[in-house]
Amino acid sequence: MIREITIGQYYDEESVIHRLDPRVKLVATLIYIISIFVVNNIPGYAFVVVFLGICIALSHVPFKFIVKGLKPVMIILFITIAFNMLLTPGEILWKFWILKISREGLKAGATMALRLTLLITGSSLMTLTTTPNNLTDGMERLLRPLTRIRVPVHEIAMMMSIALRFIPILLEETDIIMKAQMARGADFESGNIFRRAKALVPLLVPLFVSAFRRANDLAMAMEARCYRGGEGRTKMKPLKYNGRDYAAYAIVWLFLAGCIVLRIVL
């Protein structure tokens, strides 16, 4: 059940998007996020949706798989819509007791939900098509100028890649521990919120113990191989831009320009 969470997971496939340089994908995602907040009318949103649709089609990641990743954030989405709908003042469409729905609220809720969905889908497309290692490599390279002002970029990137590396491992472990406790009659699915919170103790204790043990082992293994940070370290596979990477840069900048134009013109 817990394995159904697909956010941040890598989906192995052969595609143009997968082959792009991770730096391009990071920058493109950033531009894409900005563009979501630039557009403010229906043609604008349609433009973004079409752009995202083309990217998804190019990535060869099944649409179903991406939608599945949206499920866990549904609750947040619904809460956002509800708050926006009920708490935005304006022309009242429907009223019951202290609950009021205004036209403005409805619009704000719908906009917010659409933006969130686009945001999550777009950024998960990046993680789905980039291996965690590539992702942190790209991040490290993009942030390298910051080392001049003594930001430990390599160390941050290392921590990130370790954290990302451990997500699937810990998810799988959670699944096993849950099953091991269910085999002893534990119940994670029924009861009120307090009982459910209490039921998590037999799950969290072994999970934490194992996470610490793994962290210890990893630290030991790194030390045994004389790891000493980023200074003077070279890469086995240095990142290099190709023709398609420049093309991708051009396309996303054009996309942002298109969004700005749509906002100004309409």
């Binding site: 521990i177 099953k179 085999a183 002893r184 113990v209």
Partner: protein, 285 residues
């Protein structure tokens, strides 16, 4: 108290490009009081299969019944089923969580909804059954040795008084002495309480001496389901699956090949010793 599986299939990550057909059309009947060895190479689906037996994994397709009742039928209580079909996972670290050993063993019976007295009685009996020393009941389950942890994990399931006890690789990572102890303990539970045992392993040496029935799995299907002696006759096929015969069997086969008149299907050290000694005596008397 029997369990049947009819045409059970299990597919992981069905709608992606990395879907795995973990179980392929499994048909199986587990009778009362059997000692079954379930064996197969890593990744052949043994763990997936046993997790189907107590309803932890829902089959993609197929029927599983316990005492004739569909375990996914309407009104069937799977939580209760897990009390009848006890499953001990491979690593005790995945289930130990309490402050002390005794409370940890109490976790299962408490979940069954028993009263305090019965819970403690069962926990006490279970810890005794696995040979855990009384004076260590209060110690932390994180500070005891690997072998002791495994005992506590088994006790944690035994305390629920299951009819069928399934152990997933209970000897993995133990030293020879610890291995022997755990296997002896399992065999005693089978003899004295006539408990149905399913012992999952990838080592023939583990199961050869104890199991009365051997189920060999390969790539998600059942390759053999027979008495150990019968299964061991298929040496080539087993080796092709990445499995080896018990070491003793290899010795007996070598002896036979070199002209000694011994039974080359023996699977336990004791039998082999008897055979060799009697051969020696008959030659030298």
């Amino acid at each position: 108290m029997s369990m049947t599986l009819e045409h059970v299939n299990c597919i992981y990550s069905a709608d992606t490009n990395h879907s795995v057909h973990a179980l392929k059309d499994i048909c199986l009947t587990i009778n009362d009081g059997e000692f079954i060895g379930l064996i197969g190479h890593t990744g052949c689906g043994k763990s997936t299969l046993v997790q189907h037996l107590n309803g932890l994994i829902r089959p993609t397709d197929g029927l599983i019944t316990y005492n004739g009742q569909d375990i996914y039928g309407k009104g069937f209580n799977r939580k209760e089923l897990r009390g009848h079909v006890g499953l001990v996972f491979q690593y005790p670290e995945h289930q130990l969580f309490e402050n002390d050993v005794f409370s940890d063993v109490c976790f299962g019976p408490i979940n069954l909804g028993l009263d305090r007295k019965e819970v403690e009685l069962r926990a006490y009996e279970a810890l005794h059954a696995v040979g855990f020393p009384d004076e260590d009941f209060e110690s932390s389950p994180f500070e005891i040795s690997g072998g002791q942890k495994r005992r506590v994990a088994i006790a944690g399931v035994l305390a629920m008084k299951p009819d069928i006890l399934i152990l997933d690789e209970p000897t993995a990572g133990l030293d020879p002495k610890g291995r022997e102890d755990i296997l002896e303990l399992i065999s005693r539970l089978h003899r004295e309480n006539s408990m149905t045992i399913i012992l999952v392993s990838h080592s023939m040496d583990d199961v050869a001496g104890y199991a009365e029935r051997l189920i060999v799995m390969d790539h998600g299907s059942i390759a053999y389901d027979d008495k150990p002696q019968e299964v061991f006759k298929n040496v080539r096929e087993l080796e092709a699956m990445g499995l080896a015969l018990p070491e003793v069997t290899y010795i007996m086969r070598t002896l036979k090949r070199n002209g000694y008149d011994v039974d080359d299907t023996l699977t336990t050290i004791d039998e082999a010793v008897d055979a060799i000694v009697s051969l020696y005596k008959s030659r030298h008397s």
